[in-house]
Amino acid sequence: MNVLNNPDPLFARDFFAEIFGEAPDLERIRRATCIALTEGGSDSLVAVGCLEEGPCAGMGYVWLFAVAENYRGRGLGALLLDEIVSHARKTGLSVIELKTYQKWYSMRDMLLKHGWVLVRAEPSKREDGVGEIWQLPLLSRPLRVAVIGCNPEGRGGEWAKTILDLPEWWNLAAVVDPSPEVRQFWASQGLQVFESLDDIPALLEIGAAVVAVPPRFALQIQKQAIDRGWAMLVEKPLAASMGEIIELQDMLRGGRARLVAGVQRRSHPSYVALKALLADCEIRNLTVRISLGRPEDSGLAGHRGDPSQCRGGALLDMGYHALDLAHFLIGKPVELVSCSLRNREDLAADADSAADLLCRSGTAWLRILVDRHSIKTEQVAVQTADGVFIADRSGVASQEHGTLYTCPPAWHSAEKARLSALVAACLCPASAEGNLWEHLALFETVERAYGIASQLGAVGGAQS
C-alpha cells in the first residue's frame, strides 16, 4: 500500500462519488490537501482523505474521508488517519476537526482509539443518523489555564480534575479561590494557588480560564478575564440576570472576548438523536427532569447555602440545563405558564431547592422538573403522536421500538469535550461563542419564573 499526496482531483472526486453516491465539489478538492492510499498505480485509490483549512489559522478540517468498500476491515482507515494527522502536525496545525455520522460505526470506533474527542453533535439527514463533530488537538506544548472558583467538591473541582487528566492539552497553572481551605487543598496537590485574580503574576502567561464561581460573581470575573485577554470556559449560568447576560453579550461583540459556555446538553449526541427522531412528530408533552444529586437532609453545600452569595437555586442551576434542553428539542419559542418553586426553611431565603415549571410552545406542553433526589440523574420523556420517547445520556429509547440510539462512550466525559472546545477557542477565536441569544431566551424564562414566584408568594420564591 502506497501513500500518495494530492492524487489527481478527478480520480479523487470519482472515488468519493462512488462511495457517497454524490460527487463532491471538484474545486474544493483541488484547494484541499488530499492524501490517498493506493494499490498499484496512482489511479487505483483505495482510501482518500481531504484536509482543508479550518475557520482560522492553526485549525484544519477533514472534509472527506473514505475507504473503498472492498478494502474495509483491514486497518486502512487508521493508516490513512495517521497520515493525515502527521501531515497536519508537519504543517503546524494545532487542532483538526472532522464530522462523521452515526451510521459510520467503524469510523467512530477508530476515532475513539486514536484519542479524538467528540465535541458536539448536530442533526443531519435521517438516513445518516446523528452528525458528530470530533476534534483532535495537536499542541506542541500544553496551554496554560487557571481555574477560578475551585471547590474540590464543586464544579470547579471537577473541571480542575479533568484538566489534570489532559496534560497534553492543558497545564493547570493557577487555582483561584477565596477560601483558605480550598487553596490549602490545591496547594497540597502541588499547584499554585491565589486568593484573587489580581494576585496572579503576568509571568505565569495564562491563556485561558475556567470560571466556576457563584452566579453573582460570574460577570465580574469574566470582565477581569476579558481584560487580561484570556479565553474563557464559563460554567452555567453565565451570569446572575438577564441584564448581565446582555452586558456579557456586549463584551463578546466584535470578537473582543472568547467564550465557551458550560451548557452542553444541546450538543449531546443522545439529545441530538432525540431531536432528529422528533423532527416529523407532533410533540404533545415534553418533560425534562433533572435531579441535583443532593439528598434532602444534606443541606446545600457551598455557595447555594450562603445567602450572601446566592441568587436563585435549583432553577438557575440545573433548571438552566433543563430549560435549554427543552428549548432545543422543541425548536420554537417557549412561554412560561406556571411555576412552583420550593425551599426548605434552613436554606438561604432566595434559594429554591426544587423547581417545577409548566411551559407551552404552540400546542405542546413542556414540564421542567428540578429536584434534589439523592442520585444525580436526568431524563427526558416526550409524548408524540408516534409514541413515547425517553432519552438520557446513555441514549434514546421508545416504548414501541426499544433502544433507538446508543450514545458513543466518548461523550461520557462532557468536560473533556468542552475543554477541547476551549483549546479551539484559544487558537481560533472564530470557534468561540460569538453571541448569547440562547441564554437570553433562557434567562427570560428563569427571571419570569422567579418574578412570578416572588409576586404570588409561592414558597421559596426568589427575588428577581
Binding site: 442533526p123 443531519s124 439527514k125 435521517r126 446582555i246 453579550q249 461583540r253 431531536k275 432528529a276 423532527a279 416529523d280 407532533e282 410533540i283 404533545r284 408533552n285 418533560t287 428549548h327 432545543f328 422543541i330 425548536g331 420554537k332 412561554e335 412560561l336 405558564v337 406556571s338 411555576c339 412552583s340 417545577d356 409548566l358 407551552r360 404552540g362 400546542t363 405542546a364 406542553w365 414540564r367 422538573l369 431524563q379 420523556a381 409524548q383 408524540t384 403522536a385 409514541g387 413515547v388 425517553i390 461563542e433 460569538g434 453571541n435 448569547l436 441569544w437 440562547e438 441564554h439 437570553l440 431566551a441 427570560e444 419570569r448 412570578i452 414566584a453 404570588l456 409561592a458 414558597v459
Partner: protein, 336 residues
C-alpha cells in the same frame, strides 16, 4: 436581472431555505423539496442567510444570529437575514428590536421591490405587534401582508385568520371585519389547521361581542382537539343555564385528553367557581399549525395543579405590566 426576475429568485431561494430547513430538521425531504434543492444547485444552501435560517429552526439562536450577521451586501439576501434577526429578537422577547430589524429588512427589500419578501416581513411584523399588545398596528401589518401576497397564495387563509385576531382584539368597531375574516378563513383556508383555528377564533369573537350565533356557527364546523375545546368553552361561557354550562364544559374536557392539565385545571376551576368569569381566557395562541391530538400515557407524574399560574399571554394579558407607551413585557431595547 430585472425586479421581477430577482423577485422570482428571492422566492426560489426562500423555497430552498424551507427545503434546507426540512433537511436540517432531519425529516425526510419531500420530492418537491429535493427538486427545489437540486434546482437551487445546493450552492445557495451554503449562504450564511440560509444557514442562519437552518439554525433558527433548530432554536440555535446564537448560531443563527452569527450566520445572519455574516450575510454580506445590501440586497434582498441581506434583507432576508435582517428578517431572521428580527425573528430571533422576537423569540427572545426583544420586541422593539425585532421591529427595528423588520423595518431595516423592509427598507432593503422595498429598495429592490422584492414582493414575496415584503409580504413575509409584513406578516412577521404583524405577529410581533399582535404578541406585544398592539392589535391595531398588527392589523395594518397583516392587511399589508394580505395585499402583498401573490393571488391564490396558500398562506392567504393563515393571514386572514391573523388579521381577524387583530381586529377582534381591537374591540367592537372592528368586530364585523373580524367576523367576516374568521368566517372566510374557516371556510376557505387550504390548511385544515387554519380552518379549525379560525372556527375557534370565531367562537371567541362571538363571546367578545356576545353573539351566541357565532359560537353556534363555529360549532357547526365541529373542530376537534384544542380548537374544539375552545369552541365548547365559549359555548359554556354564553350559557345562562348552570346545567347546560356544566354540560358544555364537560364536553370540552372530553375533547382534550387529561394530559392537557392546565386547560383541565382551568376548566374545572371555572366550573367550580374558583376562577372568576372576569378571567375568561384569551384564546390560546391561535397557532397556525394543526394541533397535537393524541393522548399517550404520561410517563412522569404530573401534579394536580400548579402552585402559581402566571399571567402568561394565553392567560390574562390585562395583568401584564405595560410601559408608558402601552407595550407589554418589553425588555429594554437591545440591538445585537
Amino acid at each position: 436581472m430585472n425586479n421581477w426576475e430577482s423577485s422570482l429568485a428571492a422566492f426560489r431561494l426562500m423555497e430552498v431555505g424551507s427545503a434546507a430547513q426540512a433537511l436540517a430538521n432531519a425529516s425526510e425531504p419531500t420530492l418537491r423539496e429535493v427538486i427545489t434543492l437540486r434546482c437551487g444547485q445546493r450552492i445557495e444552501s451554503s449562504l450564511p442567510v440560509v444557514q442562519g435560517w437552518q439554525q433558527y429552526f433548530q432554536a440555535n439562536y446564537s448560531a443563527a444570529v452569527t450566520h445572519f450577521s455574516e450575510q454580506p451586501g445590501e440586497g434582498w439576501l441581506r434583507a432576508w437575514a435582517d428578517l431572521g434577526i428580527a425573528k430571533v429578537a422576537s423569540d427572545c422577547g426583544f420586541w422593539r428590536s425585532a421591529l427595528e430589524w423588520c423595518a431595516l429588512a423592509w427598507q432593503r427589500a422595498a429598495a429592490g421591490e422584492h414582493m414575496d419578501l415584503l409580504a413575509e416581513i409584513s406578516g412577521a411584523r404583524g405577529e410581533i405587534l399582535l404578541r406585544s399588545g398592539k392589535p391595531s398596528e398588527a392589523a395594518s401589518s397583516f392587511a399589508e401582508d394580505l395585499a402583498l401576497l401573490r393571488p391564490g397564495s396558500r398562506y392567504s387563509g393563515r393571514v386572514r385568520c391573523y388579521l381577524a385576531h387583530a381586529w377582534s382584539r381591537m374591540g367592537n368597531h372592528a368586530g364585523r371585519a373580524a367576523r367576516l375574516f374568521y368566517q372566510l378563513a374557516a371556510h376557505t383556508a387550504s390548511e385544515p389547521g387554519t380552518r379549525s383555528y379560525s372556527a375557534a377564533g370565531l367562537a371567541v369573537h362571538g363571546v367578545r361581542i356576545r353573539e351566541p350565533f357565532l359560537v353556534a356557527e363555529a360549532e357547526e364546523s365541529a373542530p376537534s382537539g384544542m380548537p374544539g375545546f375552545w369552541v365548547r368553552v365559549c359555548k359554556a361561557k354564553l350559557e345562562t343555564s348552570t346545567l347546560l354550562r356544566k354540560k358544555s364544559l364537560e364536553e370540552a374536557m372530553e375533547i382534550l385528553p387529561p394530559e392537557y392539565h392546565a386547560e383541565h385545571w382551568w376548566a374545572r376551576g371555572w366550573l367550580s367557581g374558583s376562577v372568576p368569569d372576569s378571567k375568561f381566557l384569551e384564546p390560546l395562541h391561535i397557532h397556525p399549525l394543526p394541533p397535537a391530538n393524541l393522548g399517550v400515557t404520561t410517563l412522569v407524574e404530573m401534579p394536580v395543579s400548579p402552585d402559581a399560574i402566571s399571567d402568561a399571554p394565553w392567560w390574562d394579558k390585562s395583568k401584564w405590566p405595560t410601559d408608558a407607551e402601552g407595550w407589554w413585557k418589553l425588555r429594554d431595547n437591545f440591538m445585537p
